[in-house]
Subunit: 320 residues, 2 copies
């Protein structure tokens, strides 16, 4: 297939691109390199079946038609994925996650490309009243600009499925980890411990419960949907387990061979809009044949190993 | 109180403005007059407590700060309310309902105004699996650009409640009817019957079931929330009943004293994205003390009476 991957220079996007190329697909990468990394494309960019288009989906939507024309499917991963610092730039989620998605959908409609896979998030459930949270959980209340923007994008995709004949697959991810992971608590902890292995400051009281998934398991779920026919389907993706931030900190320290004093900032959440308990019911994806191969602890440990081997990733700025 | 009413020259907005002025409030109307009507403000515009600001929330957001500064609350009603013709201009809902709402919220945050009431819609439930549909119905799937845009705006408001300390009330309306109603099936039917009282063409097979509410009942629900303290509440609003389009057509014909041949276009819905059954569970609003005073038939008949008395409204273009 001829696949467009938006955000193809990013963490998940570059892993997906490598996988698609290895399977014989043609890939057109779109990335604005705001958080995407050129080294992640070191193999892909020289592959004969891969083309790279450096453009911004919000400001350069007029360029999208040529890129999307003649392809079979768009995997729309490009996004501002910065949940924690949303309030430092309240328009960014709207521009990069909502308007950009509209621009992708309109370019697809105009060029007759009608199949799209989309990376949403478990954050759209807000503080879920049902845990583990299924896809048809009660109507959510948003708690972050990021979650609100992803919910908005989901709604746009669904409207295009109903009104423009699109075939839509929406994935609601837990946090994804592994090779090329560039932000979030594992990167933060590794960075802090490299500076001072005797002390680790942790946001919140350590009790926040999260679920993680290795990027290879995530990619397998995405590629399994490339040729599925349906109007609109939503799949939660995540491991069948959760951990506390304190547990994750323990795994990270053990993997790094350090034994720091843990200093908690206090409170039941890391920042405003942080969700103290994310755990998704993934029965629907599993019933469709998907399975995870890495546990939550293995996902965290593989991330630590990658960061130790690629220290330049740890030096990337997390904050805006 | 000093109240900003966006869309204050529109159907619901002008009725709300008149009500607020009669109760002694100060009102600042914002309207771009894309669908708002100056005659609807014939009394309000000369009232000493009313100021009118003609500006567009999408293109002129820089003007919002001065209008919102120093007020107590924003009632955000301005929207592209054209569900049926959304696909003729796929960017309009995004611009006028999503980005415009973001612009209002940012202007409020900047000026320190933190209370907002918002007109959402029962369309956010898509084709609901639970009917009558409560506020915590299963996670919806959008079926129209309009519904998607209102869901997106709801999410933004909720994120501002959580992250910026806003006090948010979201109303999910069924279709509202009554004085100054300018679009939708009652206007369409009255227009067609004025041209040819012997025949009435009806979209769909007439079986689509809808719920309506008189605008005075809607306004009462809104004004009751002006001074309520809460982080974020969502209320369905509608009558405790529904009717078929065929029934409504019968009431309209009887009120007009005509007996046309009814010609159905066929199919179970009026247009792509039309929801064949909308009926909201309004127990939450009723438990908070709200009640409706007009039945669904009375709401339809009062609309017909208004249109007969104000034929210029029927001449307004419904289609874009």
């Amino acid at each position: 297939m001829n696949v467009v991957v938006t955000g193809g220079a990013g963490f998940i996007g570059s892993n997906l691109t490598d996988d698609l190329l290895a399977s014989g697909h043609q890939v057109r990468i779109i990335d604005n390199f705001s958080t995407g990394q050129r080294p992640f494309l070191s193999e892909a960019s020289s592959h004969p079946n891969c083309d790279l288009f450096e453009l911004d989906l919000f400001t350069q939507s007029e360029c999208l038609l040529d890129v999307i024309h003649g392809t079979d499917i768009v995997v729309h991963l490009a996004a501002n994925a910065d949940v924690r610092f949303g309030w430092d730039h309240p328009g960014r989620d709207l521009e990069q996650n909502v308007v950009a998605t509209h621009n992708v959908l309109e370019a697809m409609r105009t060029t007759g490309v009608r199949r799209i896979l989309f990376s949403s998030t478990g954050s759209v459930y807000g503080e879920a009243s049902v845990i583990p949270t299924p896809e048809d959980a009660p109507f959510p209340v948003q708690t972050s600009l990021y979650g609100a923007s992803k919910l908005a994008a989901e709604g746009l995709l669904q409207a295009y499925a109903e009104g423009a004949g699109f075939e839509v697959t929406i994935f609601r991810f837990v946090s994804v980890m592994g090779a090329r992971y560039t932000h979030g608590h594992v990167v933060d902890f590794v960075r802090k411990l490299r500076r001072d292995p005797s002390k680790l400051e942790i946001l919140g009281d350590g009790s926040q419960r999260k679920s993680y998934m290795d990027v290879s398991d995530c990619i397998a779920a995405v590629t399994a949907q490339l040729d599925r026919d349906h109007r609109c389907e939503v799949f939660n993706l995540g491991v069948d387990d959760y951990c506390s931030i304190a547990e994750s900190a323990g795994w990270i320290c053990a993997r790094l061979g350090v034994d720091p004093e843990l200093v908690y900032s206090g409170g039941d959440r890391g920042w405003v809009g942080d969700n103290p308990f994310i755990f998704l019911d993934t029965a629907k994806a599993r019933a469709a044949g998907w399975e995870t191969h890495f546990s939550i602890r293995e996902a965290v440990e593989r991330t630590v190993d990658y960061l130790v081997e690629h220290p330049w990733v740890v030096d990337l700025q997390d904050a805006p």
